[in-house]
């Protein structure tokens, strides 16, 4: 049984209520932090080695230390709860089940950063989560953990929840800030970074829900103890939302360093591939990270077993590796059509591109149309190289990472499953049915040509 620190009390009935949360040791980190100086709290988070849980994996403590403290402007903490990556649903589960954990983390983190006001920007589709959070915030106000002079100290804090309008792009931190200011959610050009000029041009820190929640156990158990969990630079635990063709899809808290094979096949986690089928591919960190075939996700190119850590999943770069990303673990069995799956992702990114910069606005639509053509049996061999070229011209040339996120899945699918794309071009009549690989598994076409 892996160690749970975020989800320790998640199954206690009524944990969403203040009294029960408090009885189970809730808000202890606020009490503890208020006795420390703000710098000590930041130092603790830095030492814990906590890395951003939203996808990029940037060290949280380091991000906090970039905050412009000399400025006389107010500082803000913004929690990014605009979780919209296909395959990622960990934050929703956390906020829904144990909202006080996030609020407690917000108060502790705000104290460390010296923010008098903070915001939780929640995805618009999570309306019921917003109601849960608002009720929990009211309880925190009623019990003196929010508002003026928290617990008799001179630290005062106000926390607001802001629903988003339902755009994926608003999960990009600067687009989120634009949206929070009431503007069109277009990403900003960086520099300046939010730590210097963020919300209302004031110094701002934007953190993922899970990163902020993780501050609570770090303060409670001290950085040293937190550090003991995990491997190397991947410390602590990570919430993984597992979906796809597995026996037990769901949200799991794992200790970083768990072997991928164990995560997929052990009964404690995913419980193996459903219907006794074989594993074909895994998207390890939400739809935007490169897809990996079974042989590369279980073991890296050197033959070492892959672990659920930032470093191990990235081993081999983009040639044979991927990213831990936001922890949206999507498993595909042997009947999955990779072309169809890639087309679905491309359709999503086409729909969600903000349209501000040219490569992403035009390129995402182009890739979607070409993939649609291939998947529906109208493709040509040169389309495959065209896709690679378009993806290459989007990647790295856009304002925000959405362009990369749109290009990586396409480029990696072709890199690892080129044969399958060629199969679609070669046998158009076989792929007319959307469930083609369920009806007839793809056999390597070179073999079928020779026989």
């Amino acid at each position: 049984m892996g160690k749970h620190i975020l989800f320790e009390h998640i199954n206690i009935p009524g944990i969403e209520n203040f009294s029960i949360y408090r009885k189970n040791g809730g808000y202890a980190s606020v009490e503890k932090a208020l006795k420390m100086t703000a710098d000590q709290v930041i130092e603790e988070v830095k030492e814990s080695g906590l890395r951003g849980r939203g996808g990029a994996g940037f060290p949280t403590g380091l991000k906090w230390s970039f905050l412009d403290r000399k400025s006389e402007k107010p500082r803000y903490l913004v929690c990014n709860a605009d979780e919209s990556e296909p395959g990622t649903f960990k934050d929703r589960y956390l906020m829904e089940k144990i909202p006080h954990l996030l609020i407690e983390g917000m108060i502790t983190s705000s104290y460390a950063l010296g923010a008098k006001t903070s915001f939780i920007y929640v995805r618009g589709e999570y309306m019921y989560v917003i109601r849960i959070l608002e009720k929990a915030i009211q309880e925190a106000y009623d019990n003196g953990f929010l508002g003026k002079n928290i617990l008799g100290s001179d630290f005062s804090h106000d926390l607001y929840v802001q629903p988003g309008g339902g755009a994926y792009i608003c999960g990009e931190e600067t687009a989120l800030l634009e949206s929070l200011e009431g503007k069109r959610g277009n990403p900003r050009l960086k520099p300046p970074f939010p730590a210097i000029a963020g919300l209302y041009a004031c110094p701002t820190v934007v953190n993922n829900v899970e990163s902020i929640a993780a501050v609570v156990p770090i303060i409670n158990m001290t950085a040293d103890k937190y550090n003991d969990m995990g491997i190397g630079k991947s410390t602590g635990t990570k919430i993984i939302s597992a979906s796809g063709h597995i026996n037990k899809p769901g949200v799991y808290e794992i200790e970083l360093g768990l072997p991928v094979e164990e995560f997929i096949y052990s009964d404690e986690y995913c419980g193996g591939i459903w219907k006794g089928r074989k594993l074909k591919a895994v998207v390890a960190g939400g739809s935007s990270v490169p897809i990996l075939p079974a042989e590369l996700i279980l073991k890296n190119a050197k033959g070492e077993p892959r672990l659920m850590t930032y470093e191990s999943l990235a081993e081999g770069g983009f040639v044979s590796g991927t990213m831990l990303g936001s922890g949206g673990f999507i498993v595909m069995d042997e009947t999955t059509c990779i072309v169809r799956n890639t087309w679905t992702y491309a359709r999503f990114y086409h729909h969600e591109s903000c349209g501000q910069c040219s490569p992403c606005r035009e390129g995402t639509g182009w890739m979607e149309k070409v993939l649609h053509r291939i998947e529906h049996g109208n493709g040509r061999m040169e389309d495959i190289d065209l896709l690679v070229d378009v993806a290459k011209k989007i990647e790295g040339n856009t304002i925000c990472p959405l362009g990369d996120a749109a290009a990586w899945p396409v480029a990696s699918a072709i890199r690892h499953f080129r044969e399958e794309f060629e199969y679609h071009v070669r046998y158009p009549e076989k792929v007319k049915n959307p469930k083609h690989f369920e009806l007839e598994p793809m056999v390597s076409y070179q073999v079928s040509v020779n026989s």
Binding site: A167, I169, R184, L189, P191, H350, H351, E352, S353, C354, G355, Q356, C357, S358, P359, R361, E362, G363, T364, G365, W366, K369, L386, K392, K393, I394, G396, N397, T398, I399
Partner: protein
């Protein structure tokens, strides 16, 4: 002051200058093209991505290169920075890609477009685009919209540079012009197609790099290269009154603001000057307008030719062509 090197040319510029403006201070071919940046409009730039350059050395203090290509119009220089534009293969490759992206949904209706001949996208396409398109799908189209009684918005041609929205925000009062929808469905529009009624709204036409916003009083009157541009001014209470008259014989076909060598207007003009004074007698004509950019307009020799300059250009071309002679035929079969 900061010392930067762009394509091997060193220049010292004020701190905070962008790479693009530093390159413009050097001038010549190494200046990156710009479709969305407009120096007199605040916050413009960064969107079209044609001005991407490579920063091979971040600064003297931190010589590491910037891993991704950067938008030169919005990236400030640092002391000791080394920038590669034409000397970087990556930049040329990326720029070619961006031009292709800008063109895949563009209608390419240059033969009937009023902007043809003075269109930034046309110039850019000639310079960097391929001769054929790889895009075989139906292109995006929109209905044409009247923005007020003088401006026609032809959204199908738009490349979403956002310049006109900055004009609406910064030059006119009352924000009723912006971007609707998302992604490749984004469109420029006024608030529920409300007419823009403002003294400076006509400047949207001048800042538009393509033929998306055109002057309704000029539409389909003439190709620009058949008109004769003249610098002129009048005493105006609202603006500087310095304009260019585009004439045919004695008739004034249209009035625009004056554009510099990068196609940018430095002194915006009011709608009264633009639309209401189409008599040459209303104006004090200064002389022929020099068109700085390579354009078919300047091919008509409306201005006096500088023979010295022409001679220099011919010499430069000859020098350039040296050693590029066609290979001689080896088997003589080419003889006719």
């Amino acid at each position: 002051m900061a010392k930067v090197t762009i394509d091997g040319v060193e220049i010292e510029v004020a701190n905070g200058t962008t790479i693009l403006n530093a390159a413009r201070q050097i001038g010549g071919d190494l200046v990156p093209p710009a479709m969305c940046y407009y120096s007199s409009l605040k916050d413009s730039g960064g969107k079209c991505r044609v001005c991407l350059v490579k920063v091979a050395q971040g600064s003297a203090k931190d010589p590491r290169p910037i891993p991704k290509l950067v938008a030169s119009c919005r990236t400030p220089v640092a002391d000791g920075m080394v920038v590669e534009n034409l000397t970087s293969k990556d930049v040329l490759e990326a720029r070619k890609g961006v031009v292709e992206f800008l063109l895949i949904n563009h209608p390419l209706d240059c033969p009937v477009c009023d902007q043809a001949g003075e269109c930034d996208l046309q110039n850019l396409a000639y310079e960097h685009g391929a001769e054929a398109t790889r895009y075989e799908f139906e292109r995006r189209t929109f209905d044409k919209i009247d923005i007020g009684d003088k401006i026609k918005l032809h959204m199908t041609r738009c490349i979403l540079c956002y310049r006109c929205t900055f004009v609406a925000n910064q030059l006119t009062d009352g924000r009723s012009h912006g971007v609707l929808n998302r992604g490749d469905h984004s469109e420029i529009s006024t608030y529920i197609e409300k007419a823009i009624d403002n003294d400076f709204s006509g400047n949207m036409i001048d800042v538009c790099p393509v033929g998306a916003l055109t002057d309704k009083t000029f539409r389909f009157k003439s190709r620009v290269w058949f008109t004769n541009p003249k610098d002129a001014h009048r005493d105006c209470k609202k603006c500087s009154g310095k304009v260019v008259l585009w004439t045919k014989g004695e008739e004034v076909l249209r009035v625009t603001a004056r554009k510099d060598q990068y196609g940018e207007v430095k002194e915006f003009i009011c709608n009264e000057c633009r639309y209401d004074h189409k008599n040459i007698s209303d104006w004090i004509v200064e002389g022929p307008r020099h068109i700085d950019r390579d354009s078919v307009i300047s091919q008509n020799h409306y201005e006096k030719i500088d023979l010295q300059k022409l001679k220099k250009e011919v010499e430069r071309q000859l020098e350039f062509q040296k050693g590029k002679q066609l290979p001689e035929s080896t088997n003589g079969s080419m003889k006719v």
